[in-house]
Symmetry: D2
């Protein structure tokens, strides 16, 4: 940790600050620059808060040198993690696509889509039972009934199921019934939820928050990893920016950055990232080319409803075509 | 709701879309522009999802005319709400400051600060018992013990207490012990938490999420208000932008916007909004001048600790001076 | 154009607004919603300013249906443009990479790099002579001398040269000496510069501004296209967001969006977009997979300077490897 | 400057880097942390580029301790600057409001408004002759004719005139005719324009770019100040964020930050910052409360045009009322 002092900082204050730091067991190295003075702090700085240090009148800036995560970082885990969910593997060279509808709507719907995406090569079935909706007046998902339909689809297809948890109160049910527990962008910093799921031993799909930095995503993963029970898959799903032509801005550069900083598998969610079906194929291929270990893609199937018609009714077909291109891009990326 | 169709949209698809909409009980008005065709949708559009409509190949854009909130909006509640917490009032012309330490640290600390801020004119005591911290290795607050100290401070000073809830599992305790339950920025869209607190009848202090729009803040409030039991105070506390000179960007224009769109009380949190003590006074006064119904300000008191020294030890003194200026600015703003 | 009126708007004001609009030659269609009233405006709305309309007390929102560009849009130019610069083609199925150093530094440097990138398959040589630098104390480029060195490199390799213009005063020189005139992100809305270059007939490489929307990029291109003399290549080069792990956030979703809205060639600049060499290969491949018509990549060559050593000295070698992978990804993307 | 090395950096590379730095005349201090090693660089670091240093494979981060501006900074100019334009003063305790129409439209219009705002206490007349418009099809201002009308209004009222420059080619005319040359947000980093105006000796009103940090605003000012001829007034006018309820997000915290870092006068532009007339009064008062040295406000006067009617026709009247409140808030802020 580096502490930059203010020009003309009061020597008495600096001395008190230094004494207090030394008392906490760290070593100090002072560097007198042309105008500002800098203190290098060496040792276990995990208990020193930059915010608290900034409250000293003599301090101008505090710069952290070490990353604030260990279990989620590659520094202490040089080898890429392979997450294995009932035989479906992702990370460390294993590539996997999770596919399925935004919301589970009926038995017919989920079964039909599950079979289609399995044939096309998806390794996991995704589907929302509990839906986080901005408006309380919007459809909130089928709830427990949706979970049952997902389980039925799993039984029929053998695909592990991925679905989002919305409440600490559902942890027991999810730990029993779900293969991969998804923590959505809105709950990425719901720390109590993360800690509680981390104790279940279930694999967690952790989505990046809309305004969360890559560092914050990794420290959120750290919360879930601390009990040592659960595995975590990281997911880039778009951040919020000023651009409105897409629903969010899919930050694909997060993929190589995360792969460098962390050993955990990293996937992308182009469906939520861009928000419009016609851009999903392009962004799926781009995510694979950027080095993603997998994708999570929404696939719909609603041939006879006007509200979801035309191009949409052939989406399992588009998914099939996309999966073939994904495989080819993946091949180019991974060959030496 | 306005649906803009694509140029050269397939007439069959448009017809199916129209039939489906009419089936849902709304009326349609078509406008043929020079290039694009537009459909105006009149009636109860609350069940129509823009996202689902966008999935139609023939649709180019969907524009919402109505706001997606009712209970939180001024349209149906023209008169400004006065929130009354054990006699401490805020909103509808009543101005209130909530003050206290970031974290409750000890009996001495909280009692001393509570007395100081009460003398200076604060109407509420704030203090963190459960702290949301980016890093799992940082101090997470005193927890239940902190709550007990807050209750003791309330008993000694008569100030209602405001403190943040982090978990659905704590709702019963908070409903029993706390006067104003704060929902932090990270949990603004933790909808299950909002619904559960909304059933307790307790006043909620709802902070705007780091990347939440004003509309999203109001629809989050709607979740809490739906049961009709609780009152809500809205709080602008800074949004995340590219600027790093301040911790967040305090969006003071949200104050007049919220006051126009909603009848609920609106306060600002300059402490978290800017993140540096030396800017808090300026931004407090600015928030009052912008029309805020109140402020929530961190006040520290740590005279003999090097990690929190110098200017910080006189902070209750600065708070006292600030409160006098706040009163004068408030007077200018409210006079005819 | 759609005008949403306020609830309880004054009928007299609405009537005056309507009369004034009709006087401007447009047709009006009124739709009375449950609460709000909406006016559809049909005809030539290019002279109606949403900002001016918003100044009417009775207006709540103004929504534009038509895009504010014509020459840059695909609507009136359905066929993708092929830009041809002395035989080097880009767009409409033609793919091209522009490569070279950030700044021209010496004859040896630019010649050596130019030869290397040509051998690896680059179609254009890029290099900065005039450099936009945040700080006035930083190296501002070699200026005219740099231009001369670029011309020499063009003569030796046959590669057309791409370089950034910083001043209206240099337009004559650039029109004479440069093949593709680059307008940097900081000047994307320097409209007088755009108009002046648009008159030279030279091809323009227009980079997206750091905080510019896709629509603004296209309307900026419209300024340059209005005289009908010049061709424009659009370039996504990263937008400014809260994320600091990369210098900017490369918005690759802008590529499919731009390809849909516009017929102009679209390239990506991964070097500036991410800012760190170790992420450039991944993001180059991702941009190609997303459908880019080309790339602009910085290639350095400084084997014996400590300030630019190690991995950097082999960068032409990395570029060679990257170009091979780019070709393969491009093949996957373009095959039926 | 602080250079953080990578874990396991190659010692040979670190040595070459160190030698190269020492050759440039700076002193190095090494600190070996628990994992990472840090090099403190002391001396004249103005020629060291963080970007170039980052190109070394062994470097993980580069942290600048010193600010990259001198003439614009308070460090070397502790006393607040008072800018004096023909007797109209701003900064260093002097407060001034600049007011007038967005665009100059006619002699009647500009004269009438100029007189009105003068009576209400404005010290400067603002008005656009050359307008930067996103769309090339929008009204681009009256140009030179507008300048003549502004001069006439100056003659009649004695108010110095403030107007925006769009082109380097207009510098001579502006230097002759205009009192304060405004550089708009889109041109904040048009460095050649800044340098050229800086040579005229005219006062510059420098607006913050839509995505510019406070540091970038100050380094842009540095470009203009380097010749030592011109004075600069800094202007916060809103930054671009995800929020759409206001046109931009007026970053009022920039005011105390700029006042701390710089001795130059700082004003706010609430009109462009929020974009809607009904929020301008609140944000004007907030800016004054935050410590602004002045404001620039759009005042319209169009009593008999439907496109600009109702509440708008009384705007000079609203301005008059606002100016009285501004004076009172200013009084509260400045009293001891």
């Amino acid at each position: 940790m580096i502490i930059v002092l203010k020009d003309g900082a009061d020597p008495g204050q600096v001395e008190r600050l230094s004494e207090d730091l030394v008392e906490k067991g760290v070593k100090l190295y002072e560097i007198q620059g042309v105008s500002a003075k800098v203190i290098g702090v060496v040792g276990d700085t995990s208990l020193l808060s930059a915010d608290v240090l900034m409250m000293n009148e003599c301090v101008s800036k505090v710069l952290k040198v070490q990353e604030p995560y260990k279990l989620a970082g590659r520094r202490f885990n040089p080898e890429s993690a392979v997450v294995d969910v009932n035989g479906a593997k992702i990370g460390g060279g294993e590539f996997a696509v999770m596919a399925g509808p935004c919301s589970v709507e009926s038995e017919d719907q989920i079964l039909s889509i599950a079979k289609d995406v399995k044939i096309s090569g998806a390794k996991f079935l995704r589907g929302g039972a509990f839906k986080p909706r901005t408006s309380p007046y919007a459809f909130q998902g089928m709830g427990m009934e949706g979970l049952e339909l997902l389980k039925m689809a799993r039984e029929k297809t053998g695909l592990p199921i991925v679905t989002e948890i919305m409440s600490e109160r559902h942890i027991d049910v999810f730990a029993r019934d779900v293969d991969v527990i998804q923590v959505g962008a809105r709950n990425m910093q719901n720390f109590n939820l993360l800690k509680a799921i981390g104790e279940t031993g279930k694999t967690i799909l952790l989505k990046r928050g809309l305004s969360s930095t890559i560092n914050e995503l990794l420290t959120a993963a750290e919360y879930a990893l601390l009990r040592g029970e659960s595995q975590v898959i990281l997911c880039e799903r778009g951040i919020r920016t000023f651009e409105t032509a897409t629903r969010n801005t899919l930050d694909l550069s997060a993929i190589p950055v995360l792969k460098e900083k962390s050993h955990l598998p990293v996937i992308a969610d182009p469906s939520h990232g861009v928000g419009y079906w016609n851009y999903v194929s392009a962004m799926s291929l781009a995510a694979v080319a950027a080095g993603a270990d997998g994708l999570i893609i929404e696939v719909h199937n609603c041939p006879d409803k006007a509200l979801c018609d035309g191009a949409q009714s052939i989406t399992p077909h588009l998914f099939e075509k996309l999966m073939k291109k994904i495989a080819k891009v993946r091949e180019v990326i991974t060959e030496e």
